[in-house]
Subunit: 189 residues, 2 copies
C-alpha cells in the first residue's frame, strides 16, 4: 500500500520581491516562522490583508521565499466570502484569474490577477516517483480514510528532485474528508 | 446508471416552537421564502444570528417547519470560524453536541447543545429505494463528477415515503467536489 502524508493548505499568499517592497518597504526580508514540508519553503511571520468586493480576510499568511509572480491560494468557501470566482488551477497558472486588493503595513496593491483555487496535487521526490512508477502530471486516484472517507480523483502528480512526498489539498477538501495535516492518504491507481 | 440530484446545504437552523417564540415573539409564524426538495420543508424568510466564542454569522437561514428540537447545521469551515467543534452527525442526533448563542429580533437564546456537521446522506422515496434495492441506513459509495471529481464513501441512505430523491452534502463537500445544487451524483455501490 502506497501511503502519502496529507498537508491541508489554508488560504495563503506568495509574493514577488516587488510586491514585498510595496507592502512592507524597500529591501524588506520576510522572516521565517516555520519550515514547510517542501525543501526551502517556509511560512513567514508576516501576514497581509486581502480585500474582495464582498468580504475580506485580515491575516493571510505569506509563504516564502519570494516568487516570480504574486499568487493567492484560497478555498472556494473563501472565494464566496470575498465575492470573487477564481478557477481551479495548478500553481503558477494565473493567466486570466481574478485579482484582489492586498493590504500590508507600508502600502497596498490592487492585483489585476493571481487568485486561484489550487488543484489538488501530490509532490513526489523523483526517487519516490520512480519507485512507484509515477510520471510527472499523471492523474491519480487517492483514498483518504478520515472521519468522512472519500476518494479524490484527478490528483495531479508533480515530480521533482526538489520535492518531498506530500499531498496538498485545501481546507474545503480537508474538511470534506475530515482530515488534517499529517494524516495519511492511500494511492489507489 | 443510477443518478441522484445533489443539494448543497449552506449553514442553517431548525427551530423548536418554543425557540421561535423566544426569538421572534409569542405565536410568531415563520414565512415561506422557498419550498425545498423534501415535501413540506421550506426556507423561511427569517434569519437569525449565531455567535460562537471566536466568531459569528449574522444571517443564518431558518428552515421550517418547526421541529421538536432546535438544531444548527454548519460546515467544518464554519465551525473553525465560530470556534466550536461539533461532531459529524445524522440529523436529530444532538446529544453531547456543543451549543451556540442564537440572536433574533425579539430575544436571544444560549443553546446548551444542537450544533452538528451533518453527515452526508441521500433521501430516497420508498419507491426509489425498492427499485434500486437500497435499505434504510445502508452506506453508499457515490461518485460526483464535478470540476473536482471525487467519490464520497459512507453516504447514508435514508428511506421514507415522506422523502424525495436528493443527496445532501454541505458546502465544504460541495466545494471540494466543485458542484452545486442541481448537479448529479452517480451511485456506484
Amino acid at each position: 500500500m502506497f501511503q502519502v502524508p496529507i498537508g491541508v493548505s489554508a488560504r495563503h499568499i506568495h509574493l514577488s520581491l516587488e510586491h514585498i517592497a510595496l507592502l512592507f518597504g524597500n529591501g524588506y526580508q520576510l522572516q521565517v516562522m516555520k519550515e514547510l514540508s517542501q525543501p526551502g519553503q517556509f511560512a513567514a511571520k508576516e501576514t497581509v490583508g486581502i480585500v474582495g468586493p464582498k468580504g475580506e480576510f485580515a491575516s493571510v499568511r505569506i509563504l516564502g521565499p519570494a516568487r516570480q509572480q504574486t499568487q493567492i491560494e484560497i478555498s472556494r468557501t473563501d472565494a464566496f466570502a470575498l465575492g470573487i470566482h477564481p478557477p481551479v488551477r495548478e500553481s503558477g497558472q494565473i493567466e486570466g484569474t481574478p485579482g484582489l486588493k492586498v493590504v500590508g503595513p507600508q502600502g497596498e496593491i490592487e492585483l489585476s490577477q493571481g487568485v486561484i483555487v489550487a488543484a489538488r496535487h501530490i509532490h513526489f521526490h523523483t526517487s519516490d516517483a520512480e519507485k512507484w512508477g509515477i510520471r510527472d502530471k499523471q492523474l491519480l486516484k487517492v483514498r483518504v480514510n478520515g472521519e468522512r472517507p472519500l476518494i479524490f480523483e484527478q490528483v495531479i502528480a508533480r515530480v521533482s528532485d526538489q520535492f518531498a512526498l506530500d499531498m496538498h489539498i485545501d481546507t474545503d477538501e480537508g474538511n470534506a474528508a475530515g482530515v488534517r495535516t499529517g494524516d495519511l492518504a492511500e494511492w489507489l491507481e
